[in-house]
Subunit: 305 residues, 2 copies
């Protein structure tokens, strides 16, 4: 399954000519998950030739405009282009009310089903599940209710080594071996150890999106060992105090969290407009956690199996 | 006084990679009037280096997203950048309610005064006046309440020809001459004809913005002799029926109105995404009214005195 993140925007509240407001597309298999939807997201989707009718779920972290002012426009365009597939929208309280009001005044009756899931942004909770993945909220600490999202592949089966399989195994027993169980007789004696007839399963990949937040070391248990961690890094560490009272983080803080959680790779984003050159943010983080990248418009991060 | 229109966007509801949603800046002297504010307008303002803190008035024609989804973002950015100057916002019923809801959920208390003027879109009414200009609504015929806007310079004084002025004239008499009155004695006999001591006044320039609408020949009295008429031209005339039932106009219809109203120049905009090449729209209009241009992003139309 493809597991790939595309950055559409990474600027903080004030945009600049070459940086767009926050939005990302996570491709999981043949489905697109859109994470946040700042103003201009539909133009960015077009720019990178991402077919937005293939978006199945949209996740909005919080109701600051730079994270959702592109949503009503995108939903309208999907409507105008005749979407029929239902769309799941996950967002904080208030989002549904705002959209309903906008659609009421524009006389819009969406031609597809928009299923709104109101989030409790204060909890780590599973909000979505299909055959292959789960999505959880990650509680952030921001000026208004805000959460991040953790995308995880479900555990994968242990591939069977055919030539090692004894002939007496029944199909249900084969399924149990694939999911890591040993096969026992009626008395509980092991007939087949699953380690002996299976290979280790492929890794279950994960992506954690930490939207606007103060530095929160208590997030650590949710982030441990994720393959890719996006964390906001609005400021360099010289503005640590400013970050604190504006409920944001510094690049160094993001890196400290990444290091403590032993993630594979860290992505910095949500850059303040004061940084024309983003190198200081990157360098600061890399001192603490070398496997760091900047989230730049158009960049793609693939997680291999 | 500078009288100049800058096009920021001209696409109809569905944007494309190189066409933005509707927005225009009308520069009148040293003030900017923003007309409609589709998604991405703040980025377009930056693109063309237009200082948006100099915008004094914003006019929203109607509540279809392609005409106002950039507004909340622009107002937020003005706030984040510390605007103090009051801002006048003219728009249809509902706009204020939508913005209030968005600002409530984002916890935003604007640091400048936003003065909302609710429009009666069904009337031709004066909605703004300063020393130099007036602005009127122009009623459109669209699926939802919608109006255009007519910007007109006020009549200008007759410049005095100093060497022709008799010595006996008092300052109040000079003012009356400047405004086109003759000077009479107590018995009503003309002492000085104003034509003999003044030059003709400079022209009063005008710009009419006709937003989304069915073809409305009844607009003619409002548009007569304007210097520049922007009229939507969503379709070519082969889609005249489609234009009618979607409450839009064709390029030919726009040109017919321009010709009948004897305007100086016609600007076509609000192009359907089906036209990758806009030449057919331009050619169709020019057959009826040769002084036609397309409203293309970045284009500037100056009206000389």
């Amino acid at each position: 399954m493809e597991f790939e993140l595309r950055i559409l925007g990474s600027s903080s509240a004030t945009p600049s000519t070459n940086r767009h407001h926050t939005a990302q597309v996570l491709t999981l298999g043949n489905q697109y998950h859109l994470i946040d939807c700042g103003e201009g997201t539909q133009m960015q989707l077009m720019q990178y030739k991402i077919k937005y009718q293939r978006i199945c779920n949209i996740y909005i972290s919080h109701l600051h405009g730079d994270h959702y002012f592109g949503l009503a426009g995108l939903l309208s365009t999907m409507h105008l282009q005749g979407r029929h597939t239902p769309l799941h929208l996950f967002g904080p309280p208030g989002l549904s009310e705002i959209l309903s009001l906008q659609f009421r005044y524009s006389g819009t009756n969406l031609c597809y089903k928009l299923i709104f899931h109101e989030l409790d942004t204060a909890c780590f909770t599973q909000i979505f599940e299909d055959e292959e993945i789960t999505v959880h909220t990650i509680p952030m600490e921001h000026r208004i209710p805000c959460c991040g999202f953790l995308f995880r592949e479900k555990p994968k089966p242990y591939p069977l080594i055919k030539e090692k399989l004894p002939d007496f195994l029944t199909p249900p027993q084969l399924v149990r071996l694939k999911w890591g169980e040993d096969i026992r007789d009626a008395q509980g004696n092991v007939l087949v150890y699953h380690q002996e007839v299976t290979m280790p399963p492929k890794r279950s990949r994960s992506y954690a999106y930490c939207s606007d937040s103060r530095y929160r070391p208590e997030l650590l248990p949710y982030l441990r060992h994720v393959d890719l961690l996006y964390h906001e890094a609005t400021f360099t560490d010289e503005y640590r105090e400013r970050a604190y009272y504006t409920f944001h983080s510094t690049a160094r803080q993001a890196a400290e969290l990444a290091a403590a959680a032993e993630v594979r790779r860290l992505l910095l984003g949500h850059f303040s407009v004061r940084y024309k050159d983003l190198t200081p943010l990157l360098e600061e983080a890399m001192e603490v956690f070398p496997a760091t990248n900047l989230a730049i418009e158009g960049d793609v991060f693939s997680i291999q199996e």
